[in-house]
């Protein structure tokens, strides 16, 4: 089953990829609200409109005061976004790759996320951090990590990792108008695979998962580019007669407990799959919550699949082994289904 047939288009749609959807969201948000700003390395058209072209056209349309290329200074980028946000603007700051957020961690974790709380609600930091990551392109140990758990563990910042172009558009529109800091992770493949996007796709609320396919034997929860892998496994499992309910989490923190718990209760089995490391990964939090809440109602322990405890490797052979592949998902799902 392809992703296209899953989304029965009830409205007029247009084919676009994630990159185009984000660009459309930024265009729309900037046009509708003069307080929306964009900043980051190479993001203006003079510098090519972003490393993969997500921000192309924005500076030409809105000027380089609102769409500012920056030096390679991640602390300065996030600091400027924080100050501008507290000064009444809604900045969208790009940190080119998720590994580079490490350079700006003090600004993100100690300041953006905490200023509202530490000031007793006087400070508001309505900003979005855009960042790209994901293994699969042999970019090795410092250009491909999924570090969302770092941010999920930090109170005061929301974490969004979309899969479909429609979700990119809708979640960006919501994140830009959200009163709190939001980090949106763009995983490589999600930017380049075209899918149907409703014309006039509006905001999609943060914190809401999407039940992509209904099923009754097992629930599989995933997000970001790992959803492509999950959907391949879903097709094979369906052919093998396993009825799988697939949930795209979309927002990782705060996550949609209600939808996941309802589904796990219904199917009695849950498998969480993510590209991030399995150790202390988001899957651990989801598994613990589901087991705490549904103990006695589950037919099998909650399964978790994620990257092994090592850095992202370079060699294609190792990278393929590092990433969760459809056969592992199929085997784990069948193991859980066979348990009871």
């Amino acid at each position: 089953m392809s992703t296209e047939t899953l989304e029965a288009p009830a409205v007029e749609t247009v084919k676009m990829n994630g990159l185009q959807a984000i660009n459309a969201a930024l265009m729309e948000a900037m046009e509708a609200d003069p307080k929306v700003l964009v900043l980051g390395e190479d993001i203006a058209d003079n510098e090519g409109g972003g490393v993969v072209g997500v921000t192309r056209g924005l500076s030409t349309k809105f000027g380089t005061m609102r769409v500012r290329s920056t030096p390679i200074s991640e602390q300065a980028i996030i600091g400027a976004a924080i100050g501008a946000a507290m000064g009444g603007y809604k900045p969208v700051a790009e940190i080119m790759l998720m590994n580079f957020t490490a350079v700006a961690m003090d600004m993100i974790v100690n300041h953006a996320a905490k200023l509202r709380f530490m000031s007793g609600g006087q400070s508001q930091v309505p900003m979005v951090i855009r960042t790209l990551t994901g293994a699969g392109n042999q970019t090795a140990g410092q250009h491909a990590d999924f570090y969302e758990a770092w941010f999920c563990h930090t109170a005061g910042i929301k974490v969004v990792i979309p899969w479909t172009p429609a979700d990119f558009k809708g979640l960006y529109l919501s994140a830009i108008q959200d009163p709190d800091p939001v980090i949106i992770v763009e995983s490589g493949k999600t930017l380049f695979v075209p899918m149907d996007v409703p014309v006039n796709q509006g905001p999609i609320p943060l914190g809401k998962a999407n039940v992509v396919a209904p099923g009754s034997d097992i629930t599989i929860v995933s997000y970001g580019q790992m959803m492509f892998t999950v959907m391949q496994a879903y097709e094979e499992l369906t052919k093998a007669g396993v009825s799988v309910e697939v949930i795209d989490l979309r927002t990782i923190s705060p996550w949609d407990k209600e939808t996941v718990l309802a589904s796990a209760e219904k199917t009695g089995r849950l498998l969480v799959v993510h590209e991030a490391g399995r150790n202390f990964g988001p899957g651990a939090e989801i598994a613990a919550t589901v087991q705490e809440t549904l103990f006695g109602k589950l037919k099998a322990p909650v399964g978790r699949l994620g990257a092994p405890y090592c850095s992202v490797p370079f060699a294609k052979k190792l990278e393929d082994a590092f990433l969760v592949q459809p056969p592992e998902i199929i085997a784990e799902a069948q193991r859980l289904v066979a348990m009871g």
Partner: protein, 332 residues
Amino acid sequence: MSQTLENRASPDAKTQLDIYRRMIRIERNDDATRTQIRRGRITAPYYSARGQECIPSAISVLLNNDDKICTIYRGIHDMVAKDMPLRPLWAEICGRVDGTCKGKGGPMHLTHPETGVMVTTGIVGSSMPIANGFGWAALLDGTKQVTVAYFGDGASNIGAFHEALNLASVWKLPVIFVCQNNGFAEHTRYENGTSVDQISKRAIGYGMPGYTVDGNDPADVYAHAHAAIERARAGEGPTLLECKTFRFMGHVFGDADGYMTKEEKAAAIAKDPLPIYRQKLIDDGIATAAQLDALTAKIEAEVNDAIEFAMACEYPSDDELRRDVFAEEIPA
């Protein structure tokens, strides 16, 4: 050498008196804070700025209420100089719900946007990148507003300083970077941790004016801050001001000062800017001793009122743990 300022503005008599008022307000407030901690009436980490009163006082007389400051954990003097009201300040230091941050920030994170106290950070160097954002907002708004980023000499060795100064210069932001160089980065002597003899020299590398001034001399601080603020308001960009001073009470309350000699500390205290400036105002006929005593008494009354107000306030309810994490309260 640091740059030399050609046209030096001088504070008039009224402004000099206002600088003194702010200095004595800082000193009386600091003295009361240490007294209350010693008596066990408050428990809080406290980084006294005793000895550094002149710097934010001579700068704040040049700032409007809506001009902003971003400061650091040793920053209560910067806030008091900016005329932050003392009642919410004290209630916050005491961890009470009527504190400016509802008791959730404490002395290291005091915030009071109404008087322009935007960010107080406990992380060395982090006031600077955020100050840039306020500068960018002011440019977009088309106002003449300026932002002062306060930090210590130790912070000039952290990456955030270098990233922030470079960006501020490239973007010509209306930000004044004020280094309060008290000679010690926590316990490390300036020369053991800093590659240049004057921090202002680092301004050259970022294409902005840099001045080293006597941070204990109100006229010197005023003249250079005046030039820096005028430059920022005119859209010409940032300035780095290094104000040399000394902290009399060590790094943190309870610090035994084992890393400095008794002689150098005594020599610094002998140059205490407060009595020197008081005498100057009297000698220059700007105020009489009686007038200055009356001013001190008035400020002491304000401080005492704030302390008793704060002590009578309630502690925050535990529900506050679920509030202000996000705009929307986290359900119980």
